[in-house]
């Protein structure tokens, strides 16, 4: 047999070979292993059954490794340290099996902590630490205009074009705009989420198409051939992963678009979650909507290789400064903000995520304190055995090790349970989590989370196993041997246990305080006057896009007919159309210029959200009219342009004077003057907790252009389900191709606006509940332990005349002192650390003293309650019974 032939079956299993090299006695290793290798190759040769041969090889290897009882010449299975370790492990397992109550309690406590930590980490990891699936993702930055008040906003196309031309540190820059085309095919119409992007977009993101090709600059111009790129998942799901789709066309907005490529599977639309289709932006600088103050585009850029972020930031800032000097009217005192993509993604969610992670960490620490306490008690119970072993010459390390191994086994079991818990909890968490957490769709309990659980298991095991051992060994051997039944055991371990309970109580107070503040915060947020009525109202998004709606007249006519049709639905009290709905995702802000009659100058006022509405909007939404009038059907395109503003805008511009009759312009300088005819109350928009800014209403008929995308609000006492169906039918009766989307009640809309805080609130509540439970168990355990160890002392006391009340009082004082110390430390920490909650808090100080005081009292009560049972048991100790054991 030649070596070449022998190699045909592949190499025998390496791990098995390794095992053999280490386990077979040297005097026969070469021959036995050689035999096995030869037999392996023979089997591969003759039967060609490589798997069978491997299996046989493994079996022989394992059998050869285990062969020790009969053959005294072989190496013992465990040698030196290994022997003892193996022995210790099997001893520890036996001991743990003998005390299933302890094992289960300790490991489940740890499981709670590990589970919470792993689940929350799984949710937060993709956003905070997970690698973005783009080449050199750290070079991707976002660019935003920074306004006078420090707020950040989108850029106008011309600004982006200037930055592209003049910046020396950016290798590519792309403008991005949301796009929501309606896809029509044999199966019907579907509204897609998409993006319109510059042709340099994929270059900026560091991504290449998986199939087909990227956009060309020629396609990124007005009136170019319509082309699109598809998201990988969407291509799989909608087109069954058919590669021949590339080159074919799909019908979007009634126009054939050619599919030129498919994005790679790992591409994630982080700029707009769920965007499944890309088209070229197709802007040129001469277009009307491409101006500098038409700020409706997001900009992403890639820094040149080797250019630090700070240098790039200075560079774009200086380019922008030149633009500002050139166009002071447009840019005023604005600046340009360059933010790394990752930082921009987690800007608003980083704080809340870290706060929730912190809460999980606190819970983990409490669980650890509790388990450590259990181990301390166990060490005390085993005091006699330990003392004898020490007297017989066992080293301190050897004694500590047995406890350490037990602790590691328990924490390993805890981590296993915890991981199962995290798996189970993750589903619930994802259902509850607000969509605003970036990359939430990437959250899963995968290998890194498992590794985290393993790391936690090792750390927790080390701490909870070594701490009691450290203190158990603190007292000298002679002292320990001298301890007899009459001595009150009040050694170092007692200090440890008390300290742990104090730590536990203070951590629990931190969590409770956080939960208390968040609960109030959410309540206050939900109690915020949104400025409109939410009862009995449903809303839905409608869009009129595509070739059929090419002319503005057609769009306007369609909306008129839809409005009429819906109003005519039986049971509908009123119905209105609006281009923007408070607290929805709509965001349509405009610059406002006021007329100063005295000197004939235009004065630019605060920006305002534009609501182009039908005349019955204020009635339908229940927005209160404070002065003047709202619109009437007589406000038409041909009549004088009118506008209604909100209270904040009126007060900001006019103070106590009436704004009625004043004139303003919105948008470009060429737009007409509009006369203010009324003032309405403020509504909350775009979020519940944003300070209310300017809001202005104009008749839809008088808007400069026909909005293709509107929202329909219906006020009716009908059941929302029934109402939605009838309204949908009414819309369809007017125009079959209008997709109806995002249907919800207005109360659901408000609820969703509070979702991020509610998520954090629920988690804190759950953690706080677990914390208070663990803290109560902890203090109960310590007082019970104290009572148990001091039965004789209690017996002596009661024999000497102590009343039951005195003994009860004694132990209650013990528990009370621990509770007081824990609460004092925890209260102090809550006041110090409260600021961590700031991003989550609304309408209440993150270290509200009343809340902290209230939860302190609550926790104190629970602690005393947990003390009461063992203390009562102590007071019932019968002196005769207690002393009879002497």
């Amino acid at each position: 047999m030649s070596p070449e032939r022998s190699r045909r079956g592949g190499h025998p299993p390496r791990l098995a070979l390794w095992l053999l090299q280490h386990r077979v006695p040297e005097h026969e290793r070469e021959f036995l292993v050689g035999d096995l290798v030869e037999a392996y190759h023979d089997a591969c040769e003759s039967d060609g059954d490589q798997r069978g041969a491997r299996r046989r090889f493994w079996r022989e290897a394992v059998a050869a490794s285990m062969r020790r009882e009969r053959d005294h010449q072989s190496i013992p299975f465990t040698r030196g340290l290994m022997t003892d370790l193996g022995l210790d492990v099997s001893l520890a397992m036996r001991r743990l099996r003998r005390t299933p109550g302890f094992t289960l309690a300790a490991s489940l406590t740890l499981a709670l902590g590990v589970g919470a930590a792993c689940a929350i980490t799984a949710v937060a990891r993709p956003a905070l630490w997970g690698a973005l699936p783009f080449r050199d993702a750290e070079r991707i930055v976002t660019l935003r205009e920074r306004f006078g008040d420090g707020s950040l906003g989108n850029l106008g196309y011309t600004t982006i074009a200037d930055l592209r031309r003049q910046s020396s540190t950016l290798s590519a820059i792309a403008a991005v705009r949301a796009w929501a085309p309606t896809l029509t095919d044999a199966s019907g119409a579907e509204r897609l989420t998409g993006l319109a992007v510059s042709s340099s977009f994929l270059e900026v993101m560091g991504t290449r198409v998986a199939i087909g090709r990227d956009f060309t600059p020629e396609e990124d111009r007005p009136n170019a051939t319509a082309v699109v790129l598809l998201d990988h998942g969407f291509w799989q799901q909608r087109f069954g992963g058919d590669t021949s789709i590339v080159g074919r066309t799909v019908r979007l907005e009634d126009v054939e678009h050619r599919v030129i490529g498919v994005l790679p599977a790992d591409y994630e639309s982080v700029l707009r979650p769920g965007a499944v289709i890309l088209q070229p932006l197709g802007y040129i600088e001469t277009a009307g909507f491409a101006c500098r103050d038409c700020r409706h585009l997001r900009a992403v850029a890639r820094t040149r290789d080797g250019v630090p972020i700070a240098v790039a930031a200075r560079d774009v800032e200086s380019v922008f400064a030149r633009l500002r000097d050139e166009y002071p009217a447009v840019y005023a005192s604005h600046g340009l903000q360059l933010t790394p993509l990752r930082a921009a993604l987690v800007e608003t969610t980083r704080g809340p995520l870290l706060a929730v992670l912190g809460a999980a960490a606190l819970l983990l620490l409490i669980a650890l304190a509790n388990t450590t306490n259990l181990f301390v008690s166990r060490a005390i119970q085993r005091g006699g055995e330990t003392t004898i072993r020490a007297a017989l010459g066992a080293s301190r390390w050897r004694l500590a090790r047995s406890m350490l191994i037990e602790a590691l086994l328990v924490s390993g079991l805890g981590a296993l349970f915890g991981l199962a818990l995290a798996h189970a909890a993750l589903g619930a968490l994802l259902a509850l989590a607000p969509a605003s957490i970036p990359r939430i769709d990437q959250a899963r309990a995968d290998l890194p989370i498992t590794l985290l659980a393993v790391a936690l298991a090792v750390t927790l095991g080390m701490v909870s196993g070594l701490l009691p051992a450290m203190f158990a060994g603190a007292r000298g051997l002679r002292d320990r041997l001298a301890i007899n039944a009459r001595t009150v055991a009040r050694g170092a371990h007692d200090v440890v246990r008390r300290t742990l309970v104090v730590v536990e109580l203070s951590l629990a107070l931190l969590l409770l305080g956080g939960a208390g503040i968040l609960v109030q915060s959410v309540q206050r947020l939900l109690a915020v006057d949104v400025g409109f009525a939410t009862a009995d109202r449903v809303q839905m998004a409608l869009s009129a896009t595509g070739a059929r709606f090419d002319s503005e007249a057609m769009v306007r006519q369609t909306w008129r007919s839809v409005h009429e049709a819906v109003r005519a639905v039986p049971g509908v009290t009123s119905a209105s159309l609006t281009t923007q709905l408070p607290l929805s995702n709509d965001f349509d802000g405009w610059g406002v210029r006021w007329e100063r009659a005295a000197d004939d100058v235009e004065e630019s006022g605060m920006d305002a959200f534009r609501f182009a509405v039908t005349a019955d909007y204020a009635t339908t939404m229940g927005v209160p009219l404070l002065s003047g009038r709202f619109f009437a059907p007589t406000d038409r395109a041909t009549t004088d342009p009118v506008v209604v503003i909100n209270t904040t805008m009126a007060r900001r511009q006019f103070g106590d004077r009436s704004p009625i009759g004043a004139r303003l312009k919105i948008g470009p300088p060429t737009s007409p003057w509009r006369t203010v005819v009324g003032v309405v109350g403020d509504v909350r928009h775009p979020t519940l907790d944003d300070e209310v800014g300017g809001q202005l209403y104009l008749p839809m008929e008088q808007n400069a252009f026909a909005d293709a995308y509107v929202r329909l609000v219906v006020h009716s006492t009908l059941d929302p389900g029934v109402l939605t169906r009838t309204v949908r039918d009414a819309v369809r009766s007017v125009e079959n191709s209008i997709p109806v989307a995002e249907v919800s009640t207005l109360s659901a809309l408000v609820d969703r606006a509070a979702q991020q805080r509610r998520f954090a609130e629920r988690l804190f509540q759950a953690f706080a509940l677990a914390a208070i439970l663990l803290a109560a168990i902890g203090i109960f355990g310590v007082i019970s332990g104290m009572v148990g160890e001091r039965v004789r002392e209690i017996g002596v006391r009661s024999a000497l005349g102590a009343t039951q009340g005195q003994i009860l009082g004694h132990f209650m004082r013990q528990g009370g002192r621990l509770a007081a110390m824990g609460i004092a430390v925890g209260g102090g920490a809550a006041l110090l650390l409260g600021t961590a909650l700031r991003p989550l808090v609304y309408g209440i100080s993150p270290r509200d003293p009343w809340t902290i005081a209230t939860v302190s009292v609550g926790l104190g009560a629970v602690a005393l309650l947990a003390t009461l049972l063992p203390a009562w048991r102590a007071s019932r100790v019968d002196a005769v019974v207690a002393l009879r054991t002497e």
């Binding site: 032939r5 022998s6 021959f31 036995l32 035999d35 096995l36 030869e38």
Partner: protein, 105 residues
């Protein structure tokens, strides 16, 4: 000196294999002839004992490529071994005489 059950099988296999007896060959011979699946480790243990008892002797061969450059250890039965196996056989034969019907029934 008496022979263990496995030791008997190993000796018989070695006798059958004549000059080409080594661990894996013995194992295969036992498996093919008697259908008994013994591990190679057990075969080596038995061979070591037989060598200790002076029933077999071994010599070490050349490194072989199909064994990854490892050498073979060849075993051969010594006269003492032949005697021992013969005695064991005689004992079995003597004791089983007249029991055939009973054993096969």
């Amino acid at each position: 000196m008496a022979l263990g059950d496995l030791e008997q099988l190993v000796m018989l296999a070695l006798l059958r294999l004549a000059d080409s007896g080594f661990g894996a060959a013995v194992q295969r011979e036992i498996a093919e002839r008697s259908g008994r699946d013994v591990t190679l480790g057990a075969v080596y243990t038995a061979l070591a004992r037989l060598e200790e008892k002076g029933f077999v002797r071994s010599r070490i061969g050349e490194p072989l490529p199909q064994r990854g450059g490892r050498r073979r250890r060849h075993y051969e039965v010594l006269p003492a071994g032949r005697t021992a196996i013969a005695e064991a056989w005689q004992a079995i034969e003597a004791l089983s005489r007249g029991l055939r019907a009973q054993l096969e029934g």
